[in-house]
């Protein structure tokens, strides 16, 4: 099976001349369709830079990123925006909902931008909303709902276009543990039932334990990779903690 996402020797350098800072160097990995991959590492390791580069919000200095059969490195700004619209979904730590739109309209937005017919939009929105359990909230505004509900809305918006690849940047960062668990379970279900491909950046070992595979980043380089395999979630959680303590940093975040 050909990989959905192929990352080859990606590097990212900030600044010019003598004052350069290397955020990422020589990163290569692949993600297959239907995988739920986590990216972990201490603060400043380059997790978010990697996600931004993969998500086409930022451009890499070196290397290639191939999603499906599209090479992102050679695309222009406008093309990238269209590519994002058609292929990618995002879930952000701070939700990024538009507060002048209702929950329904927030979810409708990416489909409207893709110029889908109104009837088809309605059907899709209803389906995704019941998947995340927010049917009753559809006509409320973001300021009327809780953080967990906002993140479900944001996730619905990311998934409603049935993107090839979903990027989540610390999606549970601002949630209490109950809401975080609910969200992660929904994502995990979705990954299994719909074979969605999800890539999630987190420094929370609990959130990471929902993934099938975890990439560890340290000082801008890929340092370790672990597979969940047949382990239960609790066992996987313990393994993650061990890896974190061995590479240093990050452990503090768990406490």
């Amino acid at each position: 099976m050909t990989p959905l996402l192929k990352v080859q020797n990606v590097g990212k350098t900030y600044g010019k001349g003598a004052n350069t800072f290397t955020a990422l160097s020589n990163i290569s990995f692949e993600v297959k369709k239907g995988e739920f991959v986590g990216v972990m590492g201490p603060s400043g390791a380059g997790k978010s830079t990697l996600l931004n580069v993969l998500a086409t919000i930022d451009t890499p200095t070196t290397g290639e990123i191939i999603i499906g059969d599209t090479n992102l490195a050679r695309m222009k700004d406008a093309e990238l925006a269209d590519f994002r619209r058609d292929n990618l979904g995002f879930i952000f730590q701070d939700y990024n909902l538009l507060d002048s739109l209702t929950v329904r309209e927030n979810i409708v937005l990416p489909l409207a931008i893709a110029k889908m017919p109104t009837k088809a939009i309605s059907a899709r929105v209803d389906r995704i909303a019941s998947l995340f359990g927010i049917n009753d909230l559809l006509d409320k505004y973001p300021y009327q709902i809780s953080g967990g509900q906002k993140q479900r809305t944001a996730s619905s918006r990311a998934l409603v276009t049935e993107p090839k690849l979903i990027f989540a940047d610390e999606p549970t960062g601002a949630l209490d543990s109950k809401s975080a668990t609910d969200l992660l379970e929904s994502l995990s279900d979705l990954n299994q039932s719909q074979a969605s491909t999800i890539m999630m950046v987190t420094h929370d070992a609990f959130a990471a334990s929902f993934c099938q595979r975890i990439l560890f980043i340290q000082d801008g380089q890929l340092s370790k990779e672990i597979q969940r395999g047949t382990l239960t979630r609790k066992q996987f959680f313990q393994e993650i903690l061990q890896v974190l303590s061995s590479i240093g940093g990050g452990v503090n975040d768990v406490i």
Partner: protein, 622 residues
Amino acid sequence: MTLFSLARKNIQRNLSNYFLYIASMVFSIVIYFTFVTLKYNDDLSALKQSSQQIKGLMSASSVVLLFFIVIFMAYSNSFFMKKRKKEVALYSLLGVRKQKIGLMLFFENLVIGLVSLILGIVLGFFMSQGLLMILVRLMGYEIVGSLTFSVEALVNTTGIFTLLFLFTSLQGYRVIYQFKLIDLFHAEKQGEHIPRASLVAAVLGTALIAFGYYTAASDMFTSEIWRFFTVLGTPLMVIGVTIAGTYLLFHSVSVFVLTALKRATSWSWKGLNLIGVSQLLYRIRANAKSLSIIAILSATTITAGGGVFGMYYNAEATVRQMLPNTFMWKGETVEFSQQDVLYNEALSVKNLRVDNEFSFFEYTLLKESDYNRLAKLQGKDEELHIADGSTVLLDAAYDERFSHDFTGENFKLQNGDSFHVEKMYTESVLNFIAAGTVLVVNDQEFSTTDAEVMKMQVVGLDNDLKQQDVSKDIYKQLPSEQQETFSSVPQSYEDSLATVGALLFVGSFLGLVFLAATGSIIYFKILTEAEEDQAKYAILNKIGVNSKQILKTVAGQVAVIFSAPLIVGIVHSAFALLAFSQLFGMNITKPVILWMVAYSAIYFVYYIFTVRSFYKIVRQGN
């Protein structure tokens, strides 16, 4: 580091932020200084009788102007302060006392004020020179005024603006003392509520405007409404009703329309329509007051400008309507330059006293053959053949609302004779001044009518508007009792231009100022919102909206905010001008449309600038 140097460095480093503020200050000063300079100008006062009128006009206008400048400056100052709240908060967080921050802002204001005052006065001096030339042209004078620097204007401007700067500084102080540090950490507003439309307010708003329009459009001499509120009260009532209606229109009707648009998912769920309509809905109620003010200001500007421009445009036609001959006087002929002469006729007419059931007047009795000859000379190809006992009435001052239509009635003379009025024309062949209403009868009737015989001289010149010298020459030669009967096209034209030209100048000047200020108010307002919305557009970019689409939705939103008050203003003024043209009995459609197009064109330039700046701000967020 002293506070003063901190303030100075602040300005130096943030020059681009300050630019807009300083520019609007300089703009206000330039306008005011120019106006005051013209007011105190000696050349202008030297220009004969009309200068007194202009002086009065200028004084009244400068009060209006000042009032407007105060509003404008308060507005731009509050916009500027809003932008700097974060900076103030930072100082406060670092432990600088409010008193000190206030003092620093005060210094800043002082520096800005001084710079703009000097810039404004220098620019204003040059501008007043240019404008004086335009004014003199518009009034139809050939003199080119030389401008001396007016010390009075300098003192006046400096005094007024020092007061204004003091006032804005106090406004700044107030902001600092009201500001609470906690606000900084609650920068993110807890979602402004999306407004819900009130049906009652929407219906009431529409009804009020409809009523105002209906009243303005109805005939003021027959309408019950006009009778009820009286001729003075009705316009005031109409203005009040329209202003209230306009506010409700922006406050409720707009919400109604936008909500309906948003609900029509087959339209709104297409591309970025959803974003555009939601953003407008989200903002419109907070903006209702500004939008109404802009609509009313636009309406005022267009109405005043259109009306005055209409009068200016019609000045020549009005003169020609009343004076079909270049010169006319009663009595003997005189010697004058024969250049450009088209015709020079001596007519013998009879002076009549006519009584009828309405009034008695002096009329001029004219021979049919004389009429036909003059009509031909004046380029009218109508020949009259009047039956015995009948007459054709020529009344240039005829107004269907005031004058009696004599057609078909008998016109009784004092000596008992009477004529049957066959037709009535509003175009005469004799000048209204001296001749008044003219009765044309056939030559037979003319000779048998018993009345005082008079001699009348009529002269037609080519290029008649420029024949001022000939006009004066003839006037001088006439005996004093005949001077009263002398009428002259160039003289009347010059007199009416002097008044209407000055009116046009002041009207356009104030109109331009209002336009610039309304444009700037919208500009400031939209850009403030753009800064608040930066994050929203960054989100849109992340979920895959390309920059072209963002530009499109931005242009669309700004277009609605710009065009809504403009359209309302234009429609308001159309109805106001309808009443105006009715009152003065003038057809001003063409000049009014010209005026509206010019107004909209300048307004459009503001639109382009605003969209560009908006887009730039939004792109910075990505």
